[in-house]
């Protein structure tokens, strides 16, 4: 305390001040405000998980459907006699569309990112990245409609079958997840320490050798993170897929035959079923499966990020 007193007595400019009351108040206001935001988020997440789980689990508890039947059953006839709830075709549909979409979009996205960061860094990042990110802003119903009007007739003319199906769904999804994969890959490649590349060039490696020997292996976990995030977006996309996939509750015999995904069957039937009925509860169970899958995707991303840091 004396110290302060001396400084003030000495008629000098008041350089070191006591933490004023205002600052203490600001500190507390900031702390309480951020804590409330976090609390709000946590409560929301818990509430959603609880809500979906309570509805989704009542299929097994109240309606007496066994978990095994739901996960491995091949027949979905919720309004039939007897009602059957086999969701395997939907699980298969969701996985195959999002995997196929990732297979199409991953090479495209990663190569676009390499072009924008390694080959043409200036114009690439300034003009091309905004264009690709624009894809993320297009509403999914527009994707669905374009898919239905362009991709489905095209597939129908080229391949045998109805045009509608897994292939159409995967193509639409691959365009939708392209911005996610490209943006994350671009950021990862741009964040690569320049010393690595310069070292490689100094050793006499060509630009292409540097890219596939040094740049790609080093950024691989980050690139995979982008692909997994893209897949999880594809997994959760409902509207665009529902419009082009056909929605038959069966595992398709070809890429061009009507099938369903978890999301498409939920959006198709949710509004038409009575809350609390077995059919409605079964849809909530599907939502629960989706939620569980999303958590798994998040864990994979976390795991990849940890490896990335090492």
């Amino acid at each position: 305390m004396d110290q302060w007193a001396v400084k003030q007595d000495g008629n000098k400019p008041n350089l070191i001040r006591k933490p004023s009351k205002q600052h203490i108040r600001e500190e507390w206001v900031g702390r309480v405000y951020t804590a409330l935001c976090i609390l709000f988020l946590i409560v929301t997440i818990i509430a959603i998980v609880y809500f979906v789980a309570s509805r989704g689990l009542s299929t097994f508890i109240k309606n007496g459907v066994s978990i095994g039947d739901l996960l491995t059953g091949l027949k979905w006839a919720p309004e039939g006699e007897p009602a059957l709830f086999g969701a395997l075709p939907f699980i298969f549909g969701s996985f195959s569309t999002s995997l196929l979409a990732a297979l199409i979009a991953a090479p495209l996205g990663c190569c676009a990112a390499i072009f924008m960061t390694q080959i043409m860094p200036g114009a690439g990042r300034r003009y091309m990245q905004p264009v690709i990110e624009l894809l993320a802003g297009i509403p999914s119903v527009v994707y669905g409609f374009v898919g239905l009007s362009v991709i489905v007739p095209m597939l129908r003319n080229i391949f045998p079958g109805q045009g509608i199906g897994l292939a159409a769904g995967a193509l639409v999804l691959s365009v939708m997840i392209l911005p996610t994969i490209t943006t994350i890959a671009t950021d990862a490649l741009a964040a690569l320490p320049s010393g690595l590349k310069e070292g490689s060039f100094a050793l006499g490696a060509t630009r292409w050798q540097t890219i596939y020997r040094i740049v790609l292996p080093t950024t691989l976990p980050a690139l995979l993170t982008g692909v997994v995030l893209g897949m999880s977006r594809a997994f959760g996309e409902a509207l665009a897929v529902q419009m082009v996939i056909g929605n038959a509750p069966h595992i398709p015999r070809s890429l061009f035959e009507s099938t369903s995904t978890l999301t498409s069957v939920i959006t198709l039937s949710m509004g038409n079923t009575i809350t609390g009925s077995a059919h409605n509860n079964a849809l909530w169970s599907l939502a629960l499966i989706l939620l569980a899958m999303t958590f798994i995707f998040v864990f994979i991303v976390r795991f990849l990020e940890r490896r990335n840091k090492r």
């Binding site: 206001v29 709000f40 409560v43 509430a47 109805q162 069966h250 009507s258 079923t273």
Partner: protein, 319 residues
């Protein structure tokens, strides 16, 4: 000071949001508290006005097939009754019936009888609801234009929709694979079609397409060779070929005289008897000025023109 004010406002907003959030999470239904308040409001208003000037707010939720009609009529009704506020939402027949039964909405719009939706344990819920039939929607079987067949019998339709017949040549058409464009199993349109055109429930077949909007069904039937589907009369035009059913042409006159059977009432359900404002609105829906204008204009068939009536079991009686 300005900063402090900003922080305080932000804080208040967050708390406000959080409060909203938690109240939503407490109730199982996302609009529970709101709608409850509205019910009270409308009932109170109706009682006080004594029938002279109507007031209150009405929420009508449900069938997307009926939504355009209710929406258009409600606007006209609100012009004449400034103190009545009517909100019309879609969401499907199931949503409409659930919400009116739970008291979240005052009117539940439905394509099918409540008794058909509330089955088994839920059956008592249907008894509390009062049915108001406001229009008739008829459906026609449609096929892609490359099909040369003009008429299908009930048996042929059943065979096609159960997968026993998979090629058009088996019913007298060209040698072409049949692609079924169906509606989802829970849809009211499909239930109507199955009940009155096929007389049996059908399963979702391998390779059959299901779409939940009439627009998409029409687009797919128009474009896919060998496609068959069904559409409400208001969607019919030259882009698809309309089939006769058992030799009877699908048009308004044959529906009205009862010879064409594939039609359903459009229902507006209230829980118990409606209050003054609701009753006035429902009466307005079936008045001649609406039935002969808006109903026809939007492609429905006026309910009071029908020469036959039908009950839940499907028994048809001449008026």
């Amino acid at each position: 000071m300005k900063k402090m004010l900003l922080v305080a406002v932000a804080l208040m907003l967050t708390i406000g949001l959080a409060a909203c959030g938690s109240s939503k999470e407490n109730g199982t239904n996302n609009t529970g508290t709101n709608e409850g308040a509205q019910t009270n409001n409308s009932q109170g208003g109706g009682g006080n006005s004594g029938g002279k000037e109507l007031s209150g707010s009405i929420l009508a939720v449900g069938s997307t097939a009926l939504q355009p009609l209710v929406d258009q009529v409600s606007k006209k009704f609100m012009e004449e009754n400034a103190k009545v506020n009517i909100l019309v939402q879609g969401g499907g027949s199931g949503t409409g019936l659930t919400q009116v039964s739970d008291g979240q909405a005052q009117i539940g719009n439905s394509d099918i009888f409540a008794e058909e939706k509330f089955t088994d344990d839920d059956a008592p819920k249907a008894k509390e609801l009062v049915d108001h039939q406001v229009a008739v929607v008829a459906m026609a079987t449609v096929v892609n234009k490359d099909i040369t067949v003009d008429s299908l019998t009930k048996d042929q339709l059943v065979q096609i929709f159960t997968g026993k017949v998979t090629n058009w040549k088996e019913v007298g058409g060209p040698d072409e694979k049949i692609t079924i464009v169906n509606r989802p199993a829970s849809s009211g349109t499909r239930k109507t079609f199955e009940k009155y055109a096929l007389g049996t429930k059908t399963e979702d077949l391998q390779g059959a397409i299901q779409e939940d909007s009439s627009g998409t069904v029409k687009k797919l039937v128009t474009e896919t060779p060998g496609a068959i589907g069904y559409l409400a009369f208001s969607y019919l035009d030259d882009s698809v070929k309309t089939m006769k059913y058992d030799g009877v042409e699908a048009k308004e006159e044959t529906v009205i005289d009862g010879s064409y059977p594939v039609w359903a009432y459009q229902h507006m359900y209230t829980k118990g008897e409606p209050d003054a404002a609701m009753k006035a609105f429902l009466d307005y829906m079936v008045s001649d000025s609406v039935q002969n204008a808006d109903v026809v204009e939007l492609g429905y068939i006026p309910v009071n023109k029908m020469q036959v009536t039908r009950d839940v079991e499907g028994n048809v009686t001449k008026k």
